[in-house]
């Protein structure tokens, strides 16, 4: 077969529609999200004249009359109350006191009967360079503020990176929690999934089929249905609590839902197939005579497992763990429905910023963190599964 130009052309023609579609509706959205997280036009959009004048300012001396005039002109031209609100919020986060200063200033500027001569006459604070510095810093269309804030960092007045004060440091807690819950779920999946895969691989006939069907059935079932099912099982009057009380293991209902236990149980159930299947598929490629060979060479079954079966199936464990971990860190539905407020993971926070408070910059920045983590882990996974098994 030759790679003739017509054949290549035909292949490219077939690939083009999906490629274009994904560029438009997959790559571009992700790109928009990233650009959203670093774009910062709330101030620049409203203060075009000030931007010109402030570019020449030495950032130390008190404000010149030209600067004040430009800012006054810009502020008078603002007719969008929401945009103004965005700008004030942005400036206030850099320099406290801006909110009151701005409302006082805009009120004074709106008074057309007695227009103020300059800003300092409205409020003495306009003399202080700090406020002008805040505006100057906020004028850049690109910012790393959101990205830094996503990992609880910020910039001080001099522009150096610093840790945010503890009362603003919520994201790192959530990131750590996300990774911790994902790690626990991965561990639980290994503990259940490895023996499960090993037993399934050692069986034959209908028993093996049954065990595989039991793994595939949840995979086939809607995630939402599975989460709803766990909701029913875990609730206070749910079947698990009924069972525990019937067995006299506990007197009152054990809290299983809206807490960490419930989240981990439900997520383990949902992700277990992703652990079992890769391990199973490496186990069945291991020749059946290796364990008998190890035994004939004098290895106790447990040592034979440690020296032969485990090293040979480690690739499956690694693939499965990565798959489970990658899926777990992006999970939204299960923690949202089964978890309590203390169990929300990074996806929930992203959804909160995006839908709840329309803070696209923060949603985008946290999205970038999650995306980068996912893609890094996925590249490890892809490399692992691309390597030919059995070769060193």
């Amino acid at each position: 077969m030759s790679g003739s130009p017509t054949r290549t052309g035909r292949s490219l023609l077939l690939l083009a529609p999906l490629f274009a579609f994904l560029v438009a509706f997959f790559v571009w959205p992700l790109f928009s999200m990233v650009s959203q997280s670093v774009s910062d036009t709330a101030v620049l959009r409203l203060l075009p004249h000030s931007a010109d004048v402030l570019a020449a300012w030495d950032r130390l001396s008190p404000p010149s009359p030209a600067m004040q005039a430009a800012l006054m002109e810009d502020l008078r031209a603002v007719d969008d109350a929401q945009a103004l609100g965005d700008m004030v919020r942005r400036l206030n986060s850099a320099q406290s006191g801006f909110r009151t200063l701005m409302s006082k200033t805009t009120t004074a500027l709106a008074d057309t009967d007695d227009p103020p001569a300059d800003l300092v006459s409205i409020d003495k604070r306009w003399q202080k360079p700090e406020f002008w510095l805040a505006i100057a810093n906020a004028l850049s269309p690109l910012t790393d503020r959101n990205l830094l804030a996503a990992v609880d960092l910020g910039r001080d007045a001099q522009g150096a990176i610093e840790h945010l004060p503890p009362d603003e440091s919520v994201n790192r807690v959530i990131l750590v929690r996300t990774f911790w819950i994902s790690a626990l779920v991965t561990l639980a999946c290994i503990c259940i999934g490895y023996p499960y895969a090993m037993i399934a691989a050692s069986l034959g006939g209908w028993k093996r089929d049954l065990m595989l069907a039991a793994v595939l059935l949840p995979l086939w079932t809607s995630l939402l249905v599975r989460t709803a099912a766990w909701f029913i099982l875990l609730q206070e009057q749910g079947l698990i609590n009924d069972l525990l009380q019937w067995l006299r293991l506990t007197d009152g209902p054990v809290p299983l839902i809206f807490n960490r236990t419930g989240v981990i149980i439900a997520m383990t159930h949902v992700l277990l197939p992703f652990m079992v299947l890769p391990i199973y598929s490496t186990l069945i490629t291991i020749p059946g005579n290796l364990m008998p060979a190890a035994a004939s060479l004098g290895a106790h079954p447990f040592r034979a497992f440690l020296r032969v079966l485990l090293p040979l199936s480690l690739r499956g464990v690694a693939s499965g763990s990565l798959l489970v971990f990658i899926s777990a860190i992006g999970y939204y539905i299960t923690p949202a429905l089964i978890g309590g407020p203390g169990d929300q993971m990074i996806s929930s926070i992203i959804a909160f910023y995006a839908i709840g408070s329309a803070n696209w910059g923060m949603a985008g920045a946290l999205g970038v963190v999650l995306l980068v983590a996912t893609l890094l882990l996925y590249s490890v996974y892809a490399r692992l599964s691309a390597e030919e098994p059995g070769r060193s």
């Binding site: 290796l290 008998p292 035994a295 004939s296 290895a299 020296r307 059995g390």
Partner: protein, 355 residues
Amino acid sequence: MAEFIRFDRITKFFGALCVVENLDLSIAKGEFVSLLGPSGSGKTTLLMMLAGFESPTSGAILVDGSAVNDVPTHRRDMGVVFQSYALFPHMTVGENIAFPLQMRGVARADTAERVRRALDMVQLSALADRRPSQLSGGQQQRVALARALVFEPRVVLMDEPLGALDKQLREQMQLDIRDLHRRLGLTIVFVTHDQSEALTMSDRVAVFNKGRIEQIGTPRQVYDEPGTRFVAEFIGETNLVEGVVEAVEGQEATVRLASGLRIVSAVTGDLAPGGPVHLSIRPERIQLAETPAEQRNCLETEVADSVYQGDHLRVQLQNAVHPLVAKLDRRSREFPPGTKVYAAFSSGDCRIIRP
């Protein structure tokens, strides 16, 4: 020779299927015994039971006087060479060979020395750091052999170890293994379905059929004196004809075939006249001539086809009643098809097989 391994009335069922039936077999120390038979005849199952991978449904296996039925595989101290070698793919050649020594807690320096010697023995010293997947089939075979021998097991079990090799390599390995057996005084139980392999290597051959041993004996015995029709047909090629014993005189018997033709055959043991028997005549014992020969048996027949096969000439003979095959020396003259010839053989070239 003293008995070393003994299978005592071994029976093995897989579900309802009986694969080994009430089998007795003794093997002496230092002996090379082949278990030969078609697939499904129970020979591999017997080996698996000796290694401890399977346990007999009933009966006992004794090694050195004591029953090993309840001894787990890893304490049986038997070296097994598997059909597809079963080398550990994640270990190097050296690590593979060191494995049984590590399992036995042999000191590190001692292990290294013994691995080196084992590699020398199979002439693979240069490849100690390779992985099995980087070796040829023959090299893998030799690693498997070294690994099964390095811990000096009481007995070495081989399950069709040469099946995956090509013909030339297989013949070389047959000689190598036989040589090792003699040099080290090993006790070897060797499973194969290849009769020439069994004949080449063994002290004794046990011919298996349907879960039972049809015949056990030296290669010469099972080839020259097949005890049953199955053995006669399974080992080597033979001409089998049916007939009835007409008369027995001393060491010779006259057998009358259905066509009325009479063949005189040598007899060992008792034989009563009147019973139906089979006669086995090996093709290479038949001589052809255009004139009647001075032999005990001389049948008039006709050449149907003649094929030159390099080391011999194979002639298909067509008698009115009994088609025969003869193998002639490669230098014999070729008879064109249709030639009338006489097929001659002595009474000693025939073997009577009792039903």
